[in-house]
Amino acid sequence: MPHRGRILSGLAPAALLLLITGCSGANLGDIDESVDSREQMPGPGIFADEDGETTLKWSSDSTEAEATVSDTNSAAVTASAATSAAATVSPEQAEFEQFKAWNELRTNGAESAEYQEFLQWLEYQKFKSSQ
């Protein structure tokens, strides 16, 4: 098996090289992860706007969720989902949704950074409504 011999003879020095390089503390993680343009078309998809962002919305009676998606050449993107007091939702309903989310966090993670941030977010909502 000439190919097997070539594989093994190729792997041995490569393994040694990796071992030496690894022991020296060098960064081996900067690997080429580029995707072939045939496998995956380069650039953003068709849902992206001029800024490379896409906004997806869906809503129910009491909650509106929004996702903002920025889709760039490397498909760098952000997205979020949030409840908000949608125009079609009464202030009381929106407040109730906020309470449910707050109660869930309070129960399961009162000391968490997320909970603290949520409290700040509620304060911000109060501040906004007072303007």
Binding site: H3, I7, G22, L28, R38, A79, A81
Partner: protein, 345 residues
Amino acid sequence: MKIKNRATALQTTLATSALILLPSAVQAVEVEVSGQVNRLIQGVDNGEESGVVHADNSASGTRWRFAGQGDLDNGMSAGLLYETQLQSNPSSEITAGNLDSDGIGGNVGGGDYFSTRHANVWMKGNFGKVTMGQGSGATDGSAEVDDSGTSVIQYSASSGDLLGSMEYGDSGVTVGDVRSNFDGLGRNDNLRYDAAIGNVTLAGSIGNGDKIEASARYAIENLKIMLGFWDQNDSGDGLSGSAISASWVGDSGLNLTGSYGTDDRDGDPDNIYFKVGFKQGDNAFGIDWSETSDLGAGDAESYSIAWVRSMMPGIEVYASYRVESLDVSGADDIDALTGGARIKF
């Protein structure tokens, strides 16, 4: 499109619970959902039968993928990739008999093909990247490096992808019987390791049946080269082989692509491929030639011309004319005129 967690706690809670659950050690989560639809219409004449057929372009089939990754506390990251291909009438499966029917199977839906392409998890850091599961072995792509811009319709495996089940006249020999670009072991279930040293990325993988693969990739701004060796050992036919491919793109848009692959089955078959291309603005053109020797009933060659235009981000259209030949008595040439579109989401 990728999805990343954002600042507010409520948003984070809802987004993460809706999208992905990862251990608490993960500091940032990013999820990408993407895919494409790639359809073509092909007029084919194999010397005995001719007709027009709608098909899914098997060079880059209709598919969707789900990829997620999270940063860990210690500077490492971990993630997953799941990708499924869903094709209706794959171009590689179209036979001469399908040219006069409703497609593969003789009816709409009879030619539906579903396959899992990737289902793997990975972890990476300064040590490199370790991947486990179904996915590309280390030599996948070793005969297919191609930066010409026309690879969606013209590359080293286009013969099989576009006309693989088409018969040369009434010879009883199909394109797939006599053509291969010997592109390593493709996708398989494996444990893979990648590490970079400068501009060179080394990879090795071990899969079921003790199949082993090793490759090296070199990439700079306008040149890519990949070299691979593999051995199936106890899997498949127990073949071993090797492949190399390279692609160079000049500042003028002129580009050159070539590949060579072989394995150790009877006759020591091999394949050679060469393409000259030109890119200008949103357009890419290519002329290619390839020949597979000693694989089946006879030596087979092909040539083609191709054009690909990027209409807007996420949309490209393409066209090509291809001729497949086999040096066997009674084997007619296969001519194919193809037009199609690929749309990414």
